[in-house]
Symmetry: D2
Subunit: 358 residues, 4 copies
Amino acid sequence: MNTFGTLFRLTTFGESHGPALGGVIDGMPPGITVDESFIRSELARRKPGQSDLTTARGEDDSVELLSGVFEGVTTGTPIGFIVRNKDHHSADYDNLAQVFRPSHADFTYFMKYGLRDHRGGGRTSARETVCRVVGGAMAKLALKTYGIEVFAYTSQVGEIALEHDYTAYNPALTETNAVRCPDAEKAEAMAALIRQVKADGDTIGGVVTGVIKGLPAGLGEPVFDKFHAHLGAAMLSINAAKGFEIGDGFAMATGRGSALNDLFTTDAQGHIATLTNHSGGVQGGLTNGEDVVFRVAFKPVATLLREQPTVDITGKPAIVKARGRHDPCVVPRAVPIVEAMAAMTALDFLLLQNRYKH
Amino acid sequence: MNTFGTLFRLTTFGESHGPALGGVIDGMPPGITVDESFIRSELARRKPGQSDLTTARGEDDSVELLSGVFEGVTTGTPIGFIVRNKDHHSADYDNLAQVFRPSHADFTYFMKYGLRDHRGGGRTSARETVCRVVGGAMAKLALKTYGIEVFAYTSQVGEIALEHDYTAYNPALTETNAVRCPDAEKAEAMAALIRQVKADGDTIGGVVTGVIKGLPAGLGEPVFDKFHAHLGAAMLSINAAKGFEIGDGFAMATGRGSALNDLFTTDAQGHIATLTNHSGGVQGGLTNGEDVVFRVAFKPVATLLREQPTVDITGKPAIVKARGRHDPCVVPRAVPIVEAMAAMTALDFLLLQNRYKH
Amino acid sequence: MNTFGTLFRLTTFGESHGPALGGVIDGMPPGITVDESFIRSELARRKPGQSDLTTARGEDDSVELLSGVFEGVTTGTPIGFIVRNKDHHSADYDNLAQVFRPSHADFTYFMKYGLRDHRGGGRTSARETVCRVVGGAMAKLALKTYGIEVFAYTSQVGEIALEHDYTAYNPALTETNAVRCPDAEKAEAMAALIRQVKADGDTIGGVVTGVIKGLPAGLGEPVFDKFHAHLGAAMLSINAAKGFEIGDGFAMATGRGSALNDLFTTDAQGHIATLTNHSGGVQGGLTNGEDVVFRVAFKPVATLLREQPTVDITGKPAIVKARGRHDPCVVPRAVPIVEAMAAMTALDFLLLQNRYKH
Amino acid sequence: MNTFGTLFRLTTFGESHGPALGGVIDGMPPGITVDESFIRSELARRKPGQSDLTTARGEDDSVELLSGVFEGVTTGTPIGFIVRNKDHHSADYDNLAQVFRPSHADFTYFMKYGLRDHRGGGRTSARETVCRVVGGAMAKLALKTYGIEVFAYTSQVGEIALEHDYTAYNPALTETNAVRCPDAEKAEAMAALIRQVKADGDTIGGVVTGVIKGLPAGLGEPVFDKFHAHLGAAMLSINAAKGFEIGDGFAMATGRGSALNDLFTTDAQGHIATLTNHSGGVQGGLTNGEDVVFRVAFKPVATLLREQPTVDITGKPAIVKARGRHDPCVVPRAVPIVEAMAAMTALDFLLLQNRYKH
């Protein structure tokens, strides 16, 4: 369904070309100061038209908070919000009403519901993620009061990948380039690749790396609701995500326990910590107090600005060529979405764990 | 928590060295014939001591069905079941009461609950998966009435990996070797590697590939409960799983849309199908009627039969060496667990989709 | 939390004096024609200022549907909606910021959250029910396609109570008077009583009777999610509701099984039916195909237009006298809310039961 | 489904004449000492055959705890348990396989599932409540660490009702008679009535009053998950329950706000309290720190030890006469069930509220 989370919940609605998208943030802790400029800046990171690497759709994505905040502070009651759609060119999509775009959700929605809103992809549009960013911004504000911080960055576009793990980079540099990669040189190469792909009327995939710092040990719920299982589901729910790994992930398939076990140590303050973090901050499905580190793989955007053969809704051969405004690479704009989903997941598990406080 | 699923739900309990493990299967459709020999055979696939590649713990894992079945047929009421523990050597674990095994859940459970049952890993033991196999066996019986089938196999152990995708192999061959790999030659190489690792007192990781055949198009729930998001969470909840990908997964990060889009075609019967299946049977989070294909990465087992430095529960340095019976590689025995979790996920989404039947 | 339902879900937000209230209807079946004039007429039944028996707050409660409807038909995606607040006199409530009104939620919200939005009662205001009416209207539209109909009426105000059960009255008469009582004579007496109470600066309680016709047998989920258990919770969640009974309810405490058992018969069409309906359409927690009949008790509104002693937020004695606009009797306007909650409950269980359709 | 609760959850299974009933208690706080003799004594209160007022079925209802307890203390992991069935006389029910007992769940289960386990009522038997008592006992043990206590008693059988509210009685007297009524004289009259009804081959209804003492203010979740809405659903899920009221309940329908408002006062310790408790400890759906008081109406047991006309499963007229062992009045044995459901509800809301502890 359209609700994410257990105690901190985001419920969303909205289609790409309808009057508005929006949602309800339920379970926001009371007494949190709502920094509206922060929410705006988070939305600005997601919005289209930021650079020549993204779609030109000029939404400014201003959010209206409708409840749950009184005199600038959260009250604990649900926060309703809407984001109006302003710049939709539904006519660009008229030609799509009768055909199924390859590797898009046109066909599957039609099979599920028996009908669909084809304008701009309707509910399947990545525009839906604007609501996730609002929910994530609120979660980040709450997490901050616990000293918890979330960040993500582009670690791969096509074959161009960062060579080191997150500890080698300064996350403050992520926002200094349009690709959202903290390594300036790699960022330039990635940008060049995206421009090339765009010129070809093609698209390309990539990887986003995410980090959560400051989580206490013990978050997550055995056995089915492990921390990284929920985090994985959160990431895999993002449009175009096709893979998720925690810590060393798939690379651990090739390794030995003697090399990959994270040995314990006791630091100067007497806290038990690990010497390495192959586990990515999660052991037995519960956080261990180390940084949670994960990676999300994104496929190339399915909508191409070139002709592709397909079938129409009666099954007859057809040709489709997108006229809308589409990103050649989803990854730079996926970075704030990854952060949003991680922040909401972390806050939800934190609130769950609080139940044991007597 | 300890419940998996929405309409088809498995709730489990039990520790490795307690009197019994068990669970409740709720939402099983009525009128399904319960083939108890099938359940036993599924349990036999998971049980320890099957070959020299696995732990020697000699549980025979017999399950007792306590409710929900009348005259051999499911009634729609919950199916309670227990699996008694018989062969536990708790004394093997006495030395673990005061120390935290590296990369195991000892530390995180202690931090979550403030205490733990250290015997055999308690609730964190992979023995917990026996209940998943029972739930999965029931789900498979129900799926069969819809013509849906689930299978999985070992596709990688350490660096030894199958070179082709699932369509190149005969799944019937999977059970012909102890590694559960449908390629006999590779299976032998994998087995040799596992034996070598075991001889070293070490462990090794691997990958399981899973396939679901026969699903109708349209399963999955936008936007947070996408089919592959739930499937991913299901897989990541399995002990030692560290990564999940659907279809071409992480490989899609390096590819272009023009190469990876799955073009539609209409088959001889007039059904719309795709010419390729890079998507892994899911588009926009909903099944598209093609085979669902996914891969799960498993880390090497954390428990080593050699000395490792660690800390005790007061934070002081200590040495730990496991005496219990442990697998050098979890992957062969993970195959039936992957199938079980996939079957339960598929049935759950199928029942959900039925809600629209008028 | 602020979500109602399992497969058909309403999530709401909004305070009495904030910018807007609204919600998300998730799980609405696709392909239902949305009759907006019907939604408006349902809202008109709930709105204040309908007669001299209700508060004068002049909201016209117009709803804006923001998603989930395409070309006049539901798409199966979530329906977001908002209802703007227009006529709030927050200044009327300034005197309430520092005191707790007796038998109101001022104190309990403050204890729960540590702060509260005191304007117009904030989230605790009965204005919140406007969103329930929107959700209920959608549910009624979906139920209609199954031939299921819901209605309710005022059966008691103070000591004035209808003497017969619902079969003795024509539900079409309910809307012919401001009290919403299908017995014209009783309605007049009830109205006179409400006017008297209002003149006294006092308030009075009452009872609403609800009926659901056309439900198939077998709805409801054993054992905790019985049909009438969920229906009861739905009703008890309405502001000022203090009691719920199904069928003969509390009167059954005094009766004998030989008199109260509903004997089965077979009608001319071969359908099994009952000769009486003391059970209220539910047996063993599942619907039996007879009309579902229930009653909901409402306490007198807590807000009095006269001085009452109380304490302030520091615990010191204070005097409170409401200046806002408040109903002397909540019952007439509760009728459409009772219908809305019943309709959503019925649709939810109907969709749940569909899961068994093969 | 067969799960109750959100953070503290009981999932149950089992039929009257199957091998065993049982369940899983998930979310039990860690570190609670498990007093097994207390659990046994709670089960003894529910068990049949306690006196000549109840069925003669001689189950001793011994429970086996299978997990979640280590060295006498809860570990936070799920507590699995089973209660074996020993004394079932399935043959007593052979005559019921082909007929529907009036006002029982035979017909509705058959309509829901298309088949049913008719032996002893199968899943619909009140024997299912044995699992609730185990869950409730655990909840009581956890509540005790918070200083919270739950009790209930029989306040009405047929027309014989207690004249005062719970403050007039000593709850310690409840267990001194078989009716579970703290007023010895009334208890005797009630017992005489039950014996008379039993002699007639008939059954009779009654009312149980429940009280929860020591709850902090602020428990409950606006707006749909109000404390008394969940409590009501919990009670209405008990077999034969037909009505629920909180505080003065239905009597408030006839009263005026000026008489029924609970005025605030500040006690000697500076705590804000109310002078009266018409609200029953809940205002605006949240607890206010006063005692929570509620009443549950039970219908007469449907199974009569005399002939009744009915229909068989093909719809043809038939005669049914129960041969099993059945209570003439469910109320005395319902008392511990009411307590169990109240305890689980209270603990669940308490754990939920803890989420805000920073």
